[in-house]
């Protein structure tokens, strides 16, 4: 992570190469990390923090760890997925809420009991993650939707306001794993 130093041969002058001058390169590299490392990288400096918040970086991370699987090879293009995910809250959020916990769960659950070659069969499906993500997004809509509802359903709005439940459909992913 230290800036690399290259010295031109035979020349007294040293050329100083800093990764911070090439943010696109930095983004490329960061996109190959896993979620935790990326989050750690975000703590290095403000530039790194900004770069690691780029959607493209998180998109690369997500797609690296979750795939559509063979059966849906003809499935959505990257652009349409991108637009949907952006509408639902972004790749970073997708990773934080769904893919990250799911990977942890699969690693914790599958590691001890499933032989390594079979664990590949338990790869995380992107479509499944997206489904779970969309349910969560939908639940969050409920909190505060009462405000937006028109006058015609005033009573309903009051009821919705009073009935705010924390979105909980993804809690099953982050609850502690029973390791007994």
């Amino acid at each position: 992570m230290l800036p690399e130093e290259e010295e031109e041969e035979g020349n007294g002058k040293t050329r100083f190469f800093s990764i911070n001058d090439n943010v696109d390169l930095l983004a490329e590299i960061l996109g190959r990390l896993d979620g935790r490392s990326l989050a750690v990288a975000a703590c290095v400096c403000s530039l790194w923090s900004a770069v690691s918040r780029r959607e493209s970086v998180w998109e690369a991370v997500c797609l690296r760890h979750a795939s559509y699987g063979n059966g849906a090879a003809a499935a959505a293009t990257v652009t349409s997925t991108r637009s949907v995910v952006a509408a639902l809250g972004g790749y970073r959020r997708l990773y934080r809420l769904c893919i990250g916990p799911a990977l942890d769960r699969l690693a914790a659950g599958g590691g001890g009991r499933v032989p390594p070659e079979a664990s590949s069969a338990r790869h995380l499906s992107l479509s499944l993650s997206l489904s779970l993500f969309s349910i969560d997004c939908y639940e969050r809509l409920g909190v505060g939707v009462g405000v937006g509802v028109g006058v015609g359903v005033g009573a309903a709005a009051a009821a919705a306001g009073g009935r705010q439940q924390k979105p909980a459909s993804l809690l099953f992913l982050s609850k502690p794993v029973d390791v007994s």
């Binding site: 499935a75 639902l88 659950g109 997206l130 489904s131 969309s134 937006g148 509802v149």
Partner: protein, 624 residues
Amino acid sequence: MKLQRERQGNLHGGRGWYGAAPEMESEKKKAAMAEDSDVDELLAALGYKVRSSNMADIAQKLEQAEMAMGSSAVANDDALFFQLAADTVHYNPSDISTWVDNILSELNGPPPVSSPPLNAPAPLEQQKRHPEALPSDAEQSSITTVELPLSTRRPAQVYDLEPLPAVNVTRARGRFAYSSDPQMDVVDPSPRDSKRIKFCSSPPSSSSSTNDAATSTASNLPAVVVDTQEAGICLVHALLACAEAVEQGNLQAADTLVKQITVLAASQGGAMRKVAAYFAEALARRIYRPPPLGGAVGCPSFDSVAFDDMLHAHFYESCPYLKFAHFTANQVILEAFAGFRRVHVIDFGMRQGLQWPALLQALALRPGGPPSFRLTGIGPPQPDNSDALQEVGWKLAQFAETIRVDFRYRGFVASSLADLEPSMLLGKNSDDCGGAENEPEVVAVNSVLELHRLLARPGALEKVLGTIRAVRPRIVTVVEQEANHNGGTFRERFTEALRYYSTMFDSLEGGGKSGGGRDQVMSELYLGRQICNVVACEGAERRERHEAVEQWRERLTGAGFESVPIGSNAFKQASMLLALFAGGDGYRVEEKDGSLTLGWHTRPLIAASAWRVAAAAADPRSSR
């Protein structure tokens, strides 16, 4: 003494359920013969010094202790007992009398011994008659998992016990057989005694037993203390016996048994206790049913639909059954909708609409882009006049807008699905979004845990199936509980329900959550209401008439539908979903005749199937 030990050794080795009986007979004779020496020989084999003349006294004290502990244990205070056992100072533990005295004094004077519950011989006969109603594997696992927390507690005295058969078993025609585990056998089935089995929670590694006092005196106060596994099995027997008593109208016996069940249940832990408690409550409701006129008979039925929805939501979160149902149905619908530009989904049980965001997202991402999507949601009337269906529709519309899927919604309030007419559902909109009018609209009907309610009223299901047919759906997805709770006799229903809900509760426990979380408690309450309805209600009120997938298959094929096999994509998705659940290796997805079932270990609990109108009966679907 040696001969006794040999016999005990036989029991040790023999694993047969019924093998214990003949030995017990001879043991009894031995016990009778040994009475002449002052110290009871059988107990002496265990290391206890008990004078035979004191047996009745000790039995009484044990019973007092058990009553006192029983009442505190029922108040959910297992810890108290173990603490007592552990903290009470004992000198000379082989002296049962003082041991019990110590415990009694710790408890500060137990309540006076209450009159013993009746031992009606009738229930015992009935118990005898269905030995195969023994707990299934799933229940066995529930019993065994129960033992884990208890075994970690080591009370102050630990005895190494030899199997000591309860000598009175023989009097009950030698058919009682409890666990082959070399622990105390407990049954006191003698018709002469007015007292039935009494149990008290005790750590599995230590238990004491005393012979029925009838061997030495004429007293009617046996008190037997057993380990929880025994208690668990006896609990199941008691439940079944009570059901039999209720079916035969023997309400007194049933009443006795219900009280007993409650005491027994307190000695268990975890899933078994909760299941037993709910079943006991349901049985009590059935026994003490207020006159059928007016008011809520039996169950605390839908006093609040919102409450029901809330419980349903917790159940959704805490275990995978509903998620499995939704995801599988969505996958089936998605595949059926492939290639169509206008789609219409009719949902028979809208609730919070948690099924549909995932489908909308999948449709948004399908190759070729999203279709224009119409949703018709059906829900029960809300008592407080709030329009829950409309709210859910708004939320879904908002969601659909963010992911840019053309979405239209219509909500229908109906107290029963049979009130629906096809014209309502088809509701042709003349104000279609421009350009798509000539495209065929393809319809899917989705019913998750809704159809079984229709069986309460004769003819309702047929009407609804006719309505479905009239709508001409491309696919009908049906998800139902995989159990037969609509069987012929009450007893069958009860037995089946006991098995089913034991497995269900087991899976909730094994779900790896920090035990007793709010979700879990709510889910158990949700299931408890179902139990109450299955057991305590009859007639039109009994809405939870679950039937197994084979039975639905018959009904649906009889009504002109044919089965559509659920594809492997749905299976893979379900497997992946389960992998994400903690405790996920207890769940099993299986495919059976084209339908997918999700179960806990070997027992399927929920089944999803897909149907379409049989070709012979259908009109060309593309026409409107």
